[in-house]
């Protein structure tokens, strides 16, 4: 099959059974790959009510037809499972060099089931697949373990690891790859940890066949040439995503002091220019990517010098301004620590900021913290709390379940400023002044993440106060952006450098030989969107509109200062946004797809199942 390796690898860690299943043409054409495969297998194979940290959960590692193929940055791997953070479908994707390697080894997806009897790692070299005891790797930092495996197996192995946080099943534990790239969100590291799986190491030597190599070469060549001629490329190579910080601050979107504010008086010290000047050692790219947004950096703290990849914008926003740290080097050190511990920097930044606010408000005290002063601005506090979370000790035990769970333990009104949706902590764009972005966070299928739809410039362009029409924009983006995660290709070349979507539409037939138009692919993306929604509805009888709500802080507290001082979002605005959104999607006003909508999308079987359960009508 063109564009695919052709096989799915199934590994049962409980029984040590390793099987190969041919990828069916139906699955490939209907669900494309990556997140699409993840959603398909998660719905079909993870039973409703399964414990996300039990052996019945499955981890689906999948890439798509564009990965590993001659085109810009076919570098994306999706990791999907039932998320321990949300109890719903979750996925997170990672760049680097994993996606191609998996296909060169012969696999479009790896489905990991069960639980190993002892801490193990999965070894894959072409046809050779082994579950090996991981010995002394267990307990190591995520990067330390990757280094040890590279030394043992060789540099050509591409490796994904978890750190202590994953081993200890912190619900926002990340999966680490290529030193500083993470599938950070939704706790995929905890799922690996629950399976006693420390790492996956892959090397492959095979071809990924394509339908029309000459056609592909022509389009890809044009894409590379257009990227190289793009005036923005140099800025990206120079600063990567760090350039967002100054802009985000200037428009009132930069999370500050646990989202109390949305601009930070010290943001200038986090600017892309300062980062480049103060800590960047080398530019670092994902596979076949001219942008090289990865910044390999050096940072020192208390006499210890460390190397890391990053920080990129999200980390700077959630750890830097959201915990009110002082310099980009402090952020970089905290970033390094999270990477080694195997903590998602977005959720970890949220969790520590939440603890800082609770401490400053007296909700938790020195008695709870073992004498530690957990105040905004303290890197020391960040370091100590992050370690407690990874070890699940002291206040780290409550925080290891995420801010929603910690607020349930600590109470006293703290749930109002636990900044999350569906149990997943909010990423780097405070949105009281950006209704479409707020809606994007509320309706994102995995919780409060920006990757599905990002629309702040739309709010600025058509007016921050405007509500009508914004749901349509969010829906449009929720179909386009995840499509890239299905195809296994990075979307930055399109979304940031403006590489026209027409190129991707031309790549698809050249790679796969299928005739789908871009609109056909968007319809499939819509189907996948409804499938992950269906997962939630099958999971919980009470799932619906109440799960699509932002934290009360954004309704109750106007922005205290900065460019958007005085703004907040009202209940009326939220209701209008949601009503419009549900209507356009063909969902009822409780946010449930109708039987008719699911049938229109080719999910008739699933519609009947949910209807029989009394979940939809």
């Amino acid at each position: 099959m063109y564009g695919y390796a052709g096989d799915i690898l199934r590994v049962n860690l409980s029984t040590s059974a390793v099987t190969h299943e041919p990828l069916s043409e139906d699955l490939a054409s209907e669900y494309i790959g990556g997140r699409g495969f993840g959603a398909y297998f998660a719905y079909r194979e993870i039973p409703a009510g399964a414990d996300p940290l039990g052996p019945a959960n499955k981890l689906i590692v999948a890439s798509g037809p564009f990965a590993g193929v001659f085109l810009p940055s076919g570098a994306k791997t999706s990791l999907s499972a039932k998320s321990p953070a949300t109890g719903l479908y979750g996925d997170s994707n990672v760049g680097g060099h994993l996606a191609g390697e998996m296909k060169y080894a012969g696999f479009d997806a790896i489905i990991i089931e069960g639980k190993a009897k002892e801490p193990s790692y999965l070894f894959i070299e072409d046809e050779k697949v082994e579950i090996r005891p991981c010995g002394r790797l267990w307990g190591m930092g995520a990067i330390e373990a990757e280094k040890a495996l590279k030394e043992q197996l060789g540099d050509e192995f591409q490796i994904a690891t978890i750190g202590p946080a994953g081993e200890n099943m912190v619900v926002f534990a990340s999966v680490n790859h290529d030193i500083g790239r993470q599938a950070g969100r939704c706790g995929m590291g905890a799922v690996m940890g629950s399976k006693n799986l420390k790492a996956v190491a892959i090397r492959g030597t095979k071809n990924v066949p394509v339908a029309d190599m000459d056609g592909l070469r022509k389009v890809a060549d044009e894409m590379f040439t257009a990227l190289m001629a793009n005036p923005a490329l140099k800025a990206w190579q120079d600063q990567g995503l760090a350039q967002v910080t100054t802009w985000s601050n200037s428009i009132g979107a930069l999370p500050t002091r646990n989202f109390h504010q949305n601009s930070y008086e010290n943001a200038e010290s986090f600017s892309g220019e300062r980062m480049r000047r103060e800590i960047v050692v080398r530019d670092k790219a994902c596979f076949a990517c001219p942008m090289a947004t990865g910044k390999f950096c050096r940072a020192s703290y208390r006499g210890k010098t460390v190397y890391l990849e990053g920080p990129e914008y999200e980390t700077t926003a959630l750890i830097g301004s959201n915990c009110a740290l002082g310099s980009i080097e402090e952020v970089a050190y905290a970033n390094y620590l999270c990477d080694e511990l195997g903590l998602d920097t977005i959720s970890a930044g949220n969790a520590v900021a939440f603890a800082m606010e609770c401490f400053e408000k007296g909700i938790i005290t020195k008695e709870d913290t073992g004498g530690l002063e957990i105040r905004f601005g303290s890197l020391h506090a960040f370091v100590e709390v992050a370690k407690l979370i990874a070890e699940r000790k002291g206040i780290g035990e409550a925080l290891s379940g995420g801010v929603r769970a910690a607020a349930a333990v600590w109470g006293q009104g703290s749930e109002d400023f636990a900044i999350q949706v569906k149990g997943l902590e909010w990423s780097g764009y405070e949105s009281r002044g950006a209704p479409s972005m707020m809606l994007a966070y509320m309706t994102c299928d995995i919780g409060a993440h920006h990757n599905r739809a990002w629309s702040i410039t739309h709010d600025i362009a058509v007016g921050r106060g405007v509500i009508e029409g914004k749901a349509a924009k969010v829906i449009e983006l929720q179909h386009i952006r995840p499509l890239f995660d299905c195809l296994g290709v990075c979307r930055l070349q399109w979304v940031e450098l403006g590489l026209p979507l027409e190129y991707y539409a031309k790549l698809y037939p050249a790679v796969t030989g299928r005739r789908d138009s871009w609109d056909d692919l968007l319809n499939k993306s819509e189907k996948i969107w409804n499938l992950t929604r269906a997962f939630a509805i099958r999971e919980r009888a009470d799932f619906g509109r109440a799960d699509d709500q932002p934290p009360r802080r954004f309704l109750q507290e106007p922005v205290p200062d900065g460019p958007l001082a005085g703004l907040r979002i009202t209940r009326e605005d939220l209701d209008r946004l949601l009503d419009e959104y549900y209507d356009l999607r063909g969902w009822d006003r409780n946010g449930r797809p109708t039987v008719e909508t699911l049938r229109r999308l080719g999910l008739g079987e699933l519609a009947s199942e949910l209807q029989a359960m009394g979940r939809i009508s």
């Binding site: 280094k147 540099d155 030193i179 492959g204 030597t205 990924v208 080398r282 790219a285 076949a288």
Partner: protein, 134 residues
């Protein structure tokens, strides 16, 4: 030969381009160039590619390797894939692939240099004129 390794970002597009241009495959292991990560120890990448020094010519027991116009080539019809040249190469720039019955090396076709986003491989572009291996 000048290769500006300091500018390399480790994207490995060169390996991919080489396999596309020389073998018609998307297969970076089937390529005459390697990017090796030394990030863990030295915070940099290495580019491993033939500099056409010719030491392998002497080493080959069956005279399968020769130089013409400054480019060292392996004749696949003569080569027995014994691996002696691979061992001999001072740069480690001859690569073995399970599906190819002779070592793979750079013939300076220049495709990778043309597309390298950082101009790391400039010298390779000057060496060849768009010629690809058999």
């Amino acid at each position: 030969m000048e290769i500006d390794v300091e500018r390399c970002t480790g994207c490995k597009l060169c390996q991919l381009v080489c396999s596309v241009g020389n073998f018609g495959e998307n297969n970076p292991k089937k390529a005459g160039i390697r990017i090796v990560s030394r990030l863990f120890t030295e915070a940099r990448y290495d580019v491993v590619v033939c500099d056409q020094c010719g030491e392998c010519i002497e080493a080959c027991p069956v005279d399968a390797i020769s130089m013409a116009d400054g480019i060292v080539r392996i004749d696949p019809d003569i080569c027995t894939n014994c691996g002696i040249c691979v061992e001999t190469c001072p740069n480690g720039a001859l690569f073995v692939h399970p599906e190819v019955d002779h070592p793979i090396k750079c013939v300076a076709c220049g495709e990778c240099a043309r597309l390298c986003p950082r101009g790391v491989l400039g010298a390779l572009a000057q060496a060849g004129e768009g010629e690809v291996a058999s």
